[in-house]
Point group: C2
Chain length 370, copies 2
Amino acid sequence: MNSFSPKVVRINLAERSYDIVIAPGAMGDSTSYRDLPTATTAVIVTNTTVAPLYAARLRQALLARFTDVKVVALPDGEQYKTWQTLNLIFDALLGGGCDRKTVLFALGGGVVGDMTGFAAASYMRGVPYVQVPTTLLAQVDSSVGGKTAINHPLGKNMIGAFYQPVKVVCDLDTLRTLPPRELSAGLAEVIKYGPIADLDFLVWIEANVVALLSSDSIALGYAIKRSCEIKAWVVGQDEREAGLRAILNFGHTFGHAIEAGLGYGEWLHGEAVAAGMVMAAKLSQRLGMVDQGFVERLAALIRRAGLPVVGPHLSDVDNAGRYLELMRVDKKSEGGEIKFVLIDGPGTAVVRGAPDALVREVIDACCLRE
Amino acid sequence: MNSFSPKVVRINLAERSYDIVIAPGAMGDSTSYRDLPTATTAVIVTNTTVAPLYAARLRQALLARFTDVKVVALPDGEQYKTWQTLNLIFDALLGGGCDRKTVLFALGGGVVGDMTGFAAASYMRGVPYVQVPTTLLAQVDSSVGGKTAINHPLGKNMIGAFYQPVKVVCDLDTLRTLPPRELSAGLAEVIKYGPIADLDFLVWIEANVVALLSSDSIALGYAIKRSCEIKAWVVGQDEREAGLRAILNFGHTFGHAIEAGLGYGEWLHGEAVAAGMVMAAKLSQRLGMVDQGFVERLAALIRRAGLPVVGPHLSDVDNAGRYLELMRVDKKSEGGEIKFVLIDGPGTAVVRGAPDALVREVIDACCLRE
């Protein structure tokens, strides 16, 4: 067993500042929760897959601090990231007499985190919540930024709020039982931080990808910490996504088109982002912003991480047209213009539009023919 | 015709500051909208009752500034203040390709304002919105404070957000066609500011109640301006209702029990608040905080304003018990303790609990026997 010292990343957002604790066993350690707001009731929101694995452990740790700890288990899957499921949380909160001081705990992956966060933002116009993410994707992605949302039939994450947790507890032990496909999908969001912000981190990931894929706690602990630090640096300058924060969506514009085009859940989010990053890098190259070598280097790392480097075919009639259509309804588009996050030299990202014809060429070059 | 100079109340909330414009004809005057954020699309959210009266007028004024002005007309009534109706707004926004810069306009009463505000808070995690309230209640109550919400089957306004408009446009002409019952209901929220914060204003209302009831623009303009100023002073010190702001709920604890107990829509909100204020004043008296004369003075003004001074009978078995039960699930209760806004000497309010036995006595003394 490797030795490990718990890591804490402080997210500085004035009166909404909070800590991310990263350590093996952090979830079951009652000291992880000692600085939370005072309340009699805590509600653990989780799903039916995660509940049998961790709900009892978390509940036990919380009983040191809360008199009453309820558990709400939602159906598992992106297709349940809907108002109907969100309402199950509200039903439980109101049925259980929960008041404005009740603290919610999001125990699970990104879907549970996004829905619990939005429930916390909206219940009685806002109650405190804690993220206890159990997937790598959720630990690096939803730990920082306060983005919460549900899906609408016409678009993913279209209804939500910016709402910060009061704490994030990343228990590295939960990653040991994560299916390899989900671990790889989480790595997509780790890899992302290299091209957009930190070339040294990209070099580190290249050197440690095997350790990461084998769930080594020291490697994962560092990867999560560094990802959270970079994200915090970006979000700290632009909490409500007016400008800079958009660079965190590297790979996501193409990625959302893949997810929407295939139907959510067909590809994992991280898989869609992985192929999307290659497309965005390729588009950057076509615009003369990075060279071919960098695109190939990024694609090679993504492939080594067990992730797709080409996109799926979304239409037999006009595949590129379908991608463009889906990207135009993305909430990051403005007045119909698609905004791409592009690499302006390795380690630096910019947000800009691109000519449709060029985007079509990139999609044609980066998609699987059936 | 009386002469009138437009009034502007500035709400100071740092980067969320905004103006309330109060004037006859303000809605149709395109200068009311000249300082709004730049966007190509505006969406007027209204209801099927208000749309035929004012939607064309507002749309015409907005076309001076927005290329595309859409209108969404919701079904009219508190019973439609639900997620299902809110979703009609999201459907229209997404179906119409609305992006993050689209500006929403809430044209109507409190229900339209609350739902449009929550839609604006949640759509793509937040788009700008403007309140164009067409009832007295909405002009004095939802103009300031940024409270938005929908109802849940287990409680009113249980799901929502604190989200400030970028502007409020109060057109006094819309009050000329308001049914007398709704004008009176709006006056309940005007009268409220006297006992809790400004005894001079209470004296002014006593002297002007006839002019107010006859829709005199000068009297209404002053009443709205002063109400907004007092509310702004309170909210400015406590935007998220941590403490002081709760005094604005004078009459609302009993009032919500009345609305919930009868079924929402049976009594108008202002009518329930009116009877609730008498109950809260009576409770203050029983606790030795004001004298009998003040309770009678307040009840007399409420009666002159055409409003009820006693509550309805909510249960044949245990009426006071039913009131208590309904008040305990109100979102202002904490750990099961009901918080009352009480008058601690005329012009000053405090928030505190009270013994159940005393509350029962007050309810028994202030309720109609069938």
